[in-house]
Symmetry: C2
Subunit: 208 residues, 2 copies
């Protein structure tokens, strides 16, 4: 193993570990010492390879957004009709957020903080995702398969429901103990089941 490969592995494990810590405790709550410990590297190694806490956070956010966006765009572009693209958008968003449990918490904390720590590159990825869903809704509107809705509002429904479902799991567990039989069953084992229900619900709302 040469030095380049070793550095890549070290940086990768640091970023993966930091992702979990920033998601669970936030930028202010995460501890550089704990990230270094859990990553199995010395604390100074983080400063040597990546930089201070803010730079580490920016790198984490950027890498997570890059992965999600690339997969989303690739899966949507592979489809032809507006309805297929819409379903692919929802399905891929569900997959991304359920495979990477940190993604929703990272974004929700950013919204709560006024999006002040999102790096410029991260904003570009958000723009790409937004553009994709807007074009899909416009395609469906023009060929008559979707009615004319505000695309921004429609996207809020998609992203809001999926992120609240993904990040809401611990809260649902706490509520289940209090509500008992009155609590609506909302635990999906498979990504495709959740994606299907959300797609069905929203496509019903988009039906002309």
């Amino acid at each position: 193993m040469n030095r380049a490969e070793s550095s890549l592995d070290t940086i990768d494990i640091i970023l993966r570990t930091a992702t979990e810590h920033f998601a669970e405790r936030g930028l202010a709550g995460a501890r550089i010492d704990e990230i270094a410990r859990d990553a199995g590297v010395n604390k100074a190694t983080i400063y040597y390879h990546i930089g201070g806490k803010d730079e580490l956070y920016a790198a984490v956010f950027r890498e997570n957004m890059r992965n999600s966006t690339e997969r989303l765009l690739s899966n949507v572009e592979a489809k032809q009709t507006a309805e297929e693209k819409f379903k692919a958008y929802v399905q891929t968003m569900v997959e991304n957020l359920r495979e990477n449990k940190a993604a929703a918490p990272l974004m929700m904390r950013e919204l709560a903080s006024g999006a002040e720590n999102i790096p410029q590159e991260g904003l570009q990825y958000i723009v790409k995702m937004l553009t994709t869903i807007i074009q899909t809704l416009e395609q469906g509107r023009q060929d008559g398969s979707f009615r004319d809705t505000n695309p921004g509002l429609t996207h809020l429904m998609i992203i809001g429901s999926i992120m609240f479902y993904t990040a809401g799991e611990p809260l649902r567990k706490k509520l289940m103990g209090l509500m008992g039989a009155d609590f609506p069953m909302l635990e999906y084992t498979k990504d495709c089941d959740l994606a299907r229900d959300i797609s069905d619900f929203l496509l019903h709302a988009l039906k002309p």
Copy 2:
């Protein structure tokens, strides 16, 4: 002014100030010194009246949930039909979250943290809100005005879209500069306009 009134005023200004700080910076990021400074009270006064940081946070969360829940239940119960109740639920949720800008960030941070710092009383308020919307959807299903959907999923659409809209304002401002004309117009000046669009979209999805 007697001592009791004075204490109530002091506690009230502390809780109001702390609400903003915890919303903007989180439990870990908020600073007791800054809360005391912005509230215009001595730091030790907070410890005397309320307690440490965790107790202050719990008090903030509980009071915010109490206000929101009382108003929500009151407005929904005043209506008769399922559709009127549904609209009142959405309308009141929009009003609550737009009048109290801290509410959405507080809840989103809690979800990101695994709901670990929600006080027991706060969970009870969430249960009350959930029960209200579930009963409304069930009423509409029984009288034929709503189709049979998963009430938990429907609630995710309501709460997810409103909270992401409310908390997403700073991010939208940043994105507008990058996207220009492609960005979908999504700025509502009046609560009722946002509530109407969300209600219309979701009632279309609930239509049998």
